[in-house]
Amino acid sequence: MSEPLLQAVDLQCERDERILFRDLSFSILPGTVTRVEGPNGSGKTTLLRMLAGLNDAWSGNLLWCGKSRSAQREEFLRNTLYLGHRPGIKPLLTPIENLRALTAGRRPLPDSVLRQALEGTGLAGFQDVPCRKLSAGQQRRVALARLLIADEPLWLLDEVFTAIDASGVSAIEKLLQQRAAEGGAVVVTTHHDLRLPGMQRIVLGGGSTDEC
């Protein structure tokens, strides 16, 4: 097995004087899908934000490619895609403008590629409609279009299935599986009953990890 992309050692996180998890250790290997599970309020989103580098209020160690992550922040950010449950979509901009703004600081792509990605998420014909006129599910699909063009090896997806219809859900499942087969690593939090072969699970609230 190749070296883990991201390695967590003895993570502990406290929130409002309550310990969400402690002694949490796991590895995110290339080519795997990891699902973070747990009841509401067990710290799934917090864990994902910690992994993404948004939340700094934790103790323990996070290693990126075997070395401390904090020492190589830009290398880490360059290779990680985070989609939070706030989708990062400006309601006043059109999907294509949103996508352009989101990719410009990472890897600018020609508009034809962006349009194709939007079509791929079922937004054909909506590319130039301001996002505030789109439904919640359609807005999430704009954010999800990034998955079709992202080349970051590590994806951190928070509640990625929210507001997505059944056919969309199966398309995302297929995409995640395909991504893992290509050698990418995916970490998802979801209440949706996601079952993929070889999926790693991180169960919060109990504080253990296992394979299913």
Binding site: A57, R78, P87
Partner: protein, 241 residues
């Protein structure tokens, strides 16, 4: 970078230049602002109204207005910048684009600087453009108006830059408005004093070079330090969010 980390997908070693990323941030903010023009007019209207109400509320005497005019304009400009500060990061915070901004593989202070620059172009610069008209209204002479415009041109970017620190710090709070004013007003006072002082000394016919040099020093100081402080404050605010 070791090769073990490179199975089928490769780790990327390079990314867009920081300048291109800054341009993208600036362009997006401008585009969003022009899609919501009424928000742009708000600080301008406030500026014009405050300056217009002074002669009505206090005294329309030429001698009074000539003496107090520069001060009135400066205070009105300062308050209208303060009024617009809450928008600087708030919308981005609410819709999640701020998270994506922080996670860009770029130096965050440069991206914050680009956002602050957009804020200045959208609020501070229009105030400077309007100043000659309002200057005439409060009976300032030509020389004073020129100097006033110059001080506002140097001063309003300082207001935006210092304000960005406060806006970033109060981002996660519910009643951010009051705290923002309390945090920022004390830091605005030196800029106000030197801004109005410059115009006062110009009205007396004294040289203003030293005043302008000091204001320029304020600008350089704010330009080099404020983005770092704002970037750090943003990280803290997002960490709690």
């Amino acid at each position: 970078m070791n090769a073990d980390c490179r199975p089928a997908l490769t780790l990327r070693q390079d990314t867009v230049g920081a300048l291109a990323a800054m341009q993208a941030v600036f362009a997006r903010d401008m585009k969003v602002a022009f899609r919501q023009r009424q928000d742009l007019l708000n600080p301008l209207l406030f500026f014009v109204m405050v300056v217009t109400l002074f002669p009505l509320g206090v005294s329309p005497e030429v001698s009074f207005l000539r003496e107090a005019g520069a001060g009135i304009l400066w205070v009105a400009a300062l308050l209208s910048v303060l009024l617009s500060l809450d928008h600087l990061f708030r919308h981005d915070f609410d819709d999640g684009t701020l998270e994506q901004l922080v996670l860009q593989p770029q130096p965050l202070f440069l991206l914050v600087l680009a956002k602050t620059a957009a804020h200045w172009v959208l609020t501070g610069l229009p105030l400077v453009v309007l100043t000659p008209v309002l200057g005439v209204m409060v009976h300032l002479d030509g020389n004073s108006i020129g100097v006033l415009c110059l001080t506002l041109l140097i001063g309003t970017p300082v207001l935006s830059l210092i304000g960005s620190i406060g806006a970033a710090l109060t981002l996660g709070l519910r009643s951010a408005g009051v705290l923002l004013s309390l945090l920022i007003i004390p830091l605005y006072i030196p800029v106000l004093i030197f801004g109005t002082g410059t115009v006062a000394s110009a009205a007396e016919g004294a040289p203003v070079g030293a005043y302008l040099a000091l204001m320029g020093a304020f600008l350089v100081l704010a330009l080099t330090l404020a983005p770092f402080a704002s970037a750090a404050a943003l990280r803290i605010s997002l960490s709690n969010g």
